[in-house]
Structures are given as structure tokens and as C-alpha cells.
Amino acid sequence: MTGGNGHALITGTGAVTPLGTGTEAFWDAALHGKSGIGEITLFDPTPFPSHIAGECRDFDPLDFMSRKEARRMDRFAQFGIAAGIQAVEEAGVAEAIRKNPERTAIVMGSGIGGLSTWEREYRVMHERGPGRVSPFMITMMVPNMAAGQLAIMLGATGPTQCPVLACATGGEAIAEGLEMIRRGDADIVIAGASEAPITPLSMAGFCAIRAISRRNDEPHRASRPFDRDRDGFVMSEGAGAVVLESPEHAERRGAEPLAAVAGYGRSTDAYHITAPDEEGRGVERAMRLCLEDAGLSAEQIGHVNAHATATPTGDGPESKAIARVVPHALVSATKSMTGHSFGAVGATEGIMCALALKERVVPPTINLENLAEDCERLDYVAGEAREAPELEAAFSNSMGFGGHNVVVAFSSVR
């Protein structure tokens, strides 16, 4: 970590995912190649072409907040708060935040915000009149409310932000968290993203785009990044959050970091609203900018957690870009297990990168049985997790509708 623009240390993590709530459960399931995909239970999926999703079934908001608090929050905010609280606990920074609230920042993004609240209250207005719309509707719906509520619960009074960048939101949150540390805005940043998009309206919309897998009879095998028979992504939900600290702050309190956020690179395709540039030039540029920002060489990147959603149009271009920048890297497409939680996914995948560096093992790409012809021949870690004893640094790639590319570099602290 020399020659870059400065790093931040990750001292805590928190996750709510279809593979489990809590980083440990999540990571353990990922290393065992488990699928978090199943038949939708949050609403009746019968009228929709796709009946499957990755739901956070073991999540209970009351493990993290009171019943009153839970009632005033959309599911996406509950996820974000849960991830943030876990990260703060793991890092052991609650006391440091209490002592120095103005030096604690929160960057908690969401691609969509409180969609289920919006759908419910819209129905209330039409069926029962405007006077029956909940006074909590606005504060439950706006996407910045996971950040706002988390600040209230932690008493953190530094700056807050809510990146909204579709499926690149989580990556952007971690990048912005790093930048806040670099700028000296805060000593501690809780950075992450959350999403709860499994609703009838969003399912209808994504089905209309023809971007969603319809492999209803085999939920565990439905999310198939880089595979010949992939037929779209599987929607999921959840949140991820990390505690970032300036190296000085972490050292002062004797914290044991998991890994470092070394740098980031960002670009925009300026090409199409849903399809990435066919040659993956945007994400390639983001990877190269990230190397420069982090002060890392391409050879040092031993692992890529690919964006790889399993759509027919998305995986090929990203594989080409990876082949041009870091052809030797172990490439994991963990959406094969978690599904695609849109804004949140860059945060949970960033956590996987940090844990891969800490434990020197990379999670697998499941359901990759026959490499698709349009995807480059890379080492996709198909089927089973792989030991990576020499792992020094990793990329977490995120690409969002709108053509947004965010690549975050994580590096080992050993």
C-alpha cells in the first residue's frame, strides 16, 4: 500500500443476506457454495413469469431495534440498520462514536429506497382516500433513511450520505467512505448499502425488462453467471456495511483490521440504459483507474469479485474487461449464491473481498457448468471455494443500470 492516494482500514462488518444474517453465517454459507434462492414468500408470485428470489428469511428486525422503531421503517432501512449495528459491534467502536460523535460519518446507499411502503400507501390513497396515507410514508420511503435512522440510533453527528447508483450503489458507498477518510471528514465511517426490492411492482418491472431468470422449477440453479444456460439474474435483498477507520485512529485504539480499502476507480459507459458497453470498456477503465488510485499493480490483484449478474448481455463484456486487465485473477461470481440485491450487493461483495483477503480463501461461482461462448476463459473458481495463500489484493466490480461502473480495491493488512 504505497504510492496510492491513501487507504482506510476495515475494522468491522455486518451483513443481512439470503445466505444468512450476520457476516459469519453469510461467509460460511458462501464458502460452502450454498444458494440463497427460493420460491418467493413475501408476496404471491403466481401472476408473474418469475417466482423466485433470494429472501432474507432469518432476518428479524426486533433483533436490532424496538417494535416501534421497526414499524416506522421500511424493510430496506431495517436491513441497513441491522448491518450497520453489526459492523459497529464487530469493530467495537460504539464507545468511540459516543465520545466523538462529530467524527463519525455514515454513507448508507440504496438503489431504490422504500418501494414496498410506496406501493402500500399508493393503494391506500386510491382505495381509501388521501387522508388515510400514513404520516410515516415519506420517511419510510426516501432512500436516505437507512443513513438517517442509523445516525439517530448511533448518535453519529458527522456527515451522512446516500449514494443512489442502481447496482453500483454499494461500491460507490465504500469508495465514498474511503474518500471521507482521506479528506479527513471523519475518523470512523460506516459505509454500506441496503435494498428490499422484492415487491410485486418491482418484479413486474424487472420482468418487463426481460432481465430476470425464469428457472422457477430449480431455484438453487437459477443464478448462473458466465454459464451457457444463464437466463437472467435472480432478484434478492439485504444489506452490507463496513466500519472504515483512518489508519491512525485504528492504531490509536489498537483495533485489528480485517483488510484495507486501498482505492477505487469509477467510470460511466455513456452507452445504454441497461446494457453495458459490448467490449466492457467502461468497467475496464474503472479497473485501471482503481489500480492507479490504490497504488497497486495488476499483478497484485489476485481475485475479482465480479459484478456478473447472469444476464445474457452483462457477463460477456465484463469477462472481456477482466481478461484485458487482470487475466490471472481468481474470478468469483457470488451472485450465483446470493442473487442480485441491486444497490446492496456491492457492499456485501466488498465484505466478501475483505474476508477473502483475511482468510486467504475465495468463494466459489456455483452453477457454472458450461462456460458460455461469449465469456472469456478465466479462472472462475467454479463449484468450490479455493485457497489463495498468496492473496494480496482484490477487486470488487459493480456495474449499474445507467452505465455506472465502480471498482473498489481491497488489500491485505498482513
Binding site: R67, K68, E69, A70, R71, R72, G131, P135, F136, T139
Partner: protein, 81 residues
């Protein structure tokens, strides 16, 4: 509805909306002081009373309701026949 029934109903609604135990709610309980309701909670509670008791509570009347007992009084006086 009898006064008892109205109180029971309001206690049930308040407990649910404010996330507190029914046993903590007495007629003397102040929504703001004792039950820790904020302005948004009060708006929601009033809407719920309107819904449950089939009445309209104008804002200027709603502002006068500060305790559980006052809510019970209002409902008793304005119940639809």
C-alpha cells in the same frame, strides 16, 4: 360501545402503534410524556381512531387530545349513533 370498550380499544391501538405494553397504559397516560409519542405518532394514532370508531376528527380537535382519557371522552361524545 361502552366507555370500557372504547378505553380497551384505544389502549390496544396505542400499545400496537407505540410499541409498548398494554399494562403500561392507563386513562391518565399522556401520549407525549408517558407513552413517548412524537408528532407523527399522534397523527397516526388519530387516523387509527378515526378508522376504528368511524369518525372524522378535525385537526383543531385532535390537538386537544393529550391523554388516553381525553381520547376516550372525545370518542364517547362523538360516536356515530
Amino acid at each position: 360501545m361502552t366507555r370500557e370498550e372504547v378505553f380497551e380499544k384505544i389502549r390496544e391501538i396505542s400499545a400496537d402503534r407505540l410499541g409498548i405494553d398494554e399494562s403500561e397504559i392507563t386513562p391518565e397516560s399522556s401520549f407525549r410524556e408517558d407513552l413517548e409519542a412524537d408528532s407523527l405518532d399522534l397523527v397516526e394514532l388519530i387516523m387509527e381512531l378515526e378508522e376504528q370508531f368511524g369518525m372524522e376528527i378535525p385537526d383543531e380537535e385532535a390537538e386537544k387530545i393529550t391523554t388516553v382519557e381525553e381520547a376516550v371522552d372525545y370518542v364517547m361524545e362523538n360516536q356515530p349513533a
